[in-house]
Homo-oligomer: 664 residues x 2
């Protein structure tokens, strides 16, 4: 049928067709569009479905290239027969982008050997099979260089072809392990098939997964009450925060604060002469995003401050807020970077009917966007140059996704260890998408999850769902924008509950200063804004005021450093508590020292004593059903003798809000 | 910092960056690598996550192109605010490949209007906003052709810019629906973003999803006992099968049967002179895959047979078995298409230690593979030319995946309505992969699923798991290769149980002739092979022998044709039966005539009477908890009055193995 002949497959076509199916390679995120996240030192488990038609035996390996590698290396894969699932692993020993893919081929020699064995066992005459083996070995010999290897291989070829000997006897020669080694090295891989995509895993430093954050307004940390502090005054503050066991100190914008339309105390439309204004209204005569508010001191003061922090084991995180006050130099130098009204004036920020006259948004898609994006990148590079390796990004969901993917990529190409925390309390899919685009950490809905079921569902979603691959939640117990009703009404116990939950449910957590003093007065009832919000005024505080949580904070932070189980994300499991007001969960890890299991019980009711029977996962803990065992509370040092699965717990929040139990 | 400047994003880069996120488009299979399957007339629901930074309102549509369409058309999408999930649907009204993708853009005018409304409600002065609206309308005007449209739009521009009128009054003009219509047509789409992939859905004809198959050896269907029948003798057989209500008649290979190494009765290594041999040993002096076994008659007889079947509403399915007997013409004409041993002889099939001396496998990757693949395609095109539109493919898992994807694609490019059924009882992932590659239907593990939990788990996997998108299971109750122990030991009730299950659990099912007579003798105990297997000898049968299942078969097949609920795949749900030996499930459909609900209860124990309380899903059936309702058994016509959810069922398998209940 001539017409049909037209479509005969071209030799090129059949040449290019894959012989082997390689499917569902893991870890893979959105068909390779984004990179799953890991931490340096993690073991990366790669797996794939690999199979072929017929009965040939296959071989496969992972091809991997780390950020420090000068070339690709391979890791052999092993497989499970029933599931056709192949796997291998490697340790990601450097920060940066790790690329990998999977290759598979037909293992001709192994196939030949296994069929030969079956035939010999069945008593068949195998002279023809032995000659086929000789042919395979000869192929390997031809692939090898002249010299000893080729000579050795040729000797085997001759031996297998020696018709004077019994075929079965010759066959035995082929099972020599020395031959196998040479074959694996020199026999060309038949049907070599490579997975459709080269995948990437983003590997970050330990701080990206495990850190306790402390947010503070530097201007409030003065030694002389009520006065605007400078970076030169912050030594005591740093020592206090280090003493509480925090790892990261996050500062709201430290840049010159705008004067035009400056907001007064409690967000008043007009500011009093001495009002410091919101630090998020960035830019004044004194400069923009690469300048420092004069009242905070000089760049040199800042450099010393960063150095001082480093000596105390603290890392400084800056706020990256891409917006301008009416006085920002960019409005004069680059009016084309902003939105313009029909009358030619520049547009301030709006979310109708709300107006933000003290803030001008940038037009990221303006005609001159290339210069604008570069300028935004330069801000980050400037502060990195001053020792800042972590950035908390303000409202990333109001800037283009494409910008974030670009700017984070550009920074990581130069400084792969920079950490970006996304402040995005917008709808979940945008929050998740920003994490996929490259943000190292994300704010979460933790602040609004207070009941057992809310916490169980949300933590299960974060630690067991798809997001576990790319979203690292940073659990802030409060922020300058969020004082939850639970804290407003629950008194000191409520603060202790939320501290314990944040610090033990997530390896990443933080508080905003004032939390340790139980500050709980809202702007008005029903509001999550603070009364006398520090965003608009300088706050004085007595850090040792009665009722402070300093001891609690120091304790949980020390616990976190001492227990690997509190430094991981996906090692969380919830367990039944017969009283729903009490939450019971287990954090487990394996260390060189052995297992690290912490069973945690928290009374979520800050106002009343609660008791409950909690169900201990005996099997997981390697405990026998009936034998008694001792548990020790790391919070109090108290010891209890428990037996079996169901055990009694009673917590009076005025004394103690939870147990962190080590099983002895 | 000059060095950093080097990496300024090029205008080309920022131009090409997407403004909008379009994710998780459904239906999508393996990131578009394969095509999900649907049936002509199905409504295709397309959905996607679509969102952008900031507060702009978006718009989106599906771009779709059917096999008959000369161009792409668009279907507007609507969205759910909370989930950012957008959706649209279209009806696939033609067989073939449907391509589609998703596009989204910023709806500037809608965004402008909604913000304007909010500002007016808030009592703001909006003259500037009105001018922005005028600018948008002017953009649309410039996009429109000269003439009435542009004049109309320009008139609105003038009206909105008329500073002599109050801004709010001018604003109202902008809410004129006539204007909105013109804007939607002429205002250029900002931030237009297209989904990363163009996806394909494979649409087949109804028979691909709903059909009752009957497998028979034509040579056994003679009118004169024991004699090898020809296609000219098959009229009565076709009328009988049509009378039983089947749709498809599947014939094992009808090609010349090899003589060299022909297998005798019960798979004996040597055949007696009059033994017909296995039809799967294809090829003799009389020809190969495009010839007909001389004892079956001529090609003309076959053409008449196909025509006769068509007149009876039956479709003929042929076996596509790509292997050759030692006498196949290809061994002489194309020895290079086969595997050759070191001594130059051609290799017969082996699966060590098993040998198949009567069958020679093809070497699909031989040097001359292009000609071989084309010849294999030509076989299909030849029989399609003779009215065969359905092929049952023998052992596809022993031929390259790449070949199947190519040959099915080539056939569908010419004849989009051809159906391919894959015989692959190999490991699950290969079976599933063949379905992804393009096979229309697949044999399943149904034959080996006999208990409640086995059936529930397997059907749930097929109808609710990922496979539902691409794998259509054809439930054969028996085949010439598989006589399950359940049938060997369960007597007549066992056959009735498996018939009822196959016919009511799956819209695709089949039996191999002899099943209706309860043939149950294995080659030997422990074997699934038939004694006196028809693969090696001609069988005589009295189709009206006592104990036959003709009435049962005719009844279930009529039921299937009368009830839409039995013609769909994913409309199955299992419901609790307090006795595990009884299986209870619901099949639901909506038709123009209203709902079609069938509640089916089957006693899986062929040897003993079983009773159970079954739990009726009242809510699903729109029944009130306490009111009584009548159920009618379609198998017996018996009526019962039931009340509430728990109801009593008792089935004696010697009388009745199940109920198919319609709720009145």
């Amino acid at each position: 049928m001539p017409p049909q002949r037209r479509s005969a497959p071209s030799r090129q076509l059949t040449r290019s067709l894959p012989h082997i199916a390689i499917e569902y390679v893991r870890p893979e995120l959105d068909a390779g569009r984004f990179a799953p996240k890991r931490i340096v030192g993690d073991r990366i488990d790669v797996s794939a479905d690999i199979f072929k038609d017929g009965h040939d035996l296959l071989a496969a390996h992972v091809r991997v290239r780390g950020p420090a590698d000068s070339d690709w290396r391979t890791v052999p894969m092993t497989y499970d027969f029933d599931s056709d699932r192949w796997s291998a692993d490697f340790v990601a020993d450097a920060v940066g982008a790790w690329r990998f893919t999977v290759e598979a081929w037909t293992d001709r020699f192994a196939t030949w050997r296994s069929e030969l064995e079956k035939k010999i066992d069945a008593g068949y005459e195998v002279s023809s099979e032995v000659l086929e083996g000789a042919h395979l070995i000869d192929r390997a010999a031809r692939k090898s260089r002249f010299g000893p290897v080729r000579t050795t291989l040729k000797r085997w070829v001759t031996a297998l072809r020696d018709s004077s000997r019994h075929p079965t006897e010759r066959a035995r020669e082929a099972f020599d392990p020395a031959l196998l080694a040479l074959i694996e090295e020199y026999l060309p891989a038949d049907d070599l098939t490579t997975y459709a995509r080269v995948l990437t895993v983003r590997v970050d430093r330990e701080r990206a997964r495990f850190a306790a954050w402390y947010e503070m307004f530097p201007r409030s940390q003065g030694t002389s009450p009520g006065e605007h502090a400078t970076f030169a005054d912050l030594g005591p503050a740093l020592r206090r925060i280090a003493g509480l066991g925090f790892d990261v100190v996050y500062l709201p914008p430290i840049h010159p604060v705008g004067e035009t339309s400056r907001k007064g105390r409690n967000n008043a439309l007009t500011a009093a002469p001495d009002d410091p204004g919101s630090p998020w209204a960035i830019g004044s005569q004194a400069g923009g995003h690469t300048a420092i508010e004069p009242r905070l001191g000089t760049l040199e003061d800042f450099d010393r401050f960063v150095q001082q922090a480093r000596e105390l084991g603290l890392e400084i995180a800056l706020d990256y807020a891409l917006q301008c006050s009416p006085d920002h130099p960019w409005l004069r130098e680059h009016p084309e970077w902003f939105f313009v009204r029909p009358d030619g004036t520049i547009k301030y920020a709006e979310n109708p009917p709300k107006k933000y006259q003290d803030i001008y948004p940038l037009n990221f898609w303006c005609e001159d966007r290339d210069a604008l994006w570069q300028a935004c990148l330069d801000i980050l590079l400037f502060w990195i140059g001053h020792g800042v390796y972590t950035f908390r990004v303000d409202n990333p969901h109001t800037k283009p996704f494409a910008f974030w993917e670009w700017v984070i990529g550009e920074v990581h190409a130069r400084h792969s260890d920079i950490i970006f925390l996304a402040e995005a309390f917008t709808r979940p899919k945008r929050l998740e998408y920003l994490a996929k685009l490259g943000f190292t950490q994300s704010y979460t809905y933790f602040t609004w999850r207070n009941t057992s079921s809310e916490l169980r569902d949300y933590l299960t979603e974060l630690t067991q769902g798809p997001a576990r691959e790319y979203l690292r939640g940073n659990f802030f117990a409060n922020t300058p924008d969020i004082l939850h009703e639970y804290l407003q009404l629950g008194g000191r116990p409520a603060f202790r509950v939320r501290l314990l939950l944040a610090a033990t449910l997530s390896p990443l957590y933080g508080i905003y200063s004032g939390f340790e003093l139980g500050e709980h007065e809202p702007l008005h009832s029903g509001s999550e804004e603070y009364l006398h919000s520090e965003k608009y005024e300088i706050r004085e505080r007595d850090w040792d005021a009665p009722g402070n949580l300093n001891a609690d904070i120091a304790l949980v932070n020390r616990m976190r450093r001492e227990h690997r189980a509190l430094q991981l994300t996906t090692n969380l499991s919830f367990h039944h508590s017969e009283n729903d007001r009490m939450l019971c969960y287990l954090r487990s890890a394996t260390t060189d020292a052995g297992r690290d299991d912490l069973l945690i019980v928290v009374n979520l009711d800050p106002l009343h004593t609660q008791d409950s029977m909690v169900h201990v996962p005996l099997d997981r803990l390697g405990l026998t059903p009936d034998a008694p065992y001792a548990v020790e509370d790391l919070l109090t040092g108290a010891r209890y003798v428990w037996r079996g699965s169901r055990n009694y717990v009673r917590l009076d929040p005025r004394e103690q809000v939870g147990h962190v139990l080590v099983i002895r």
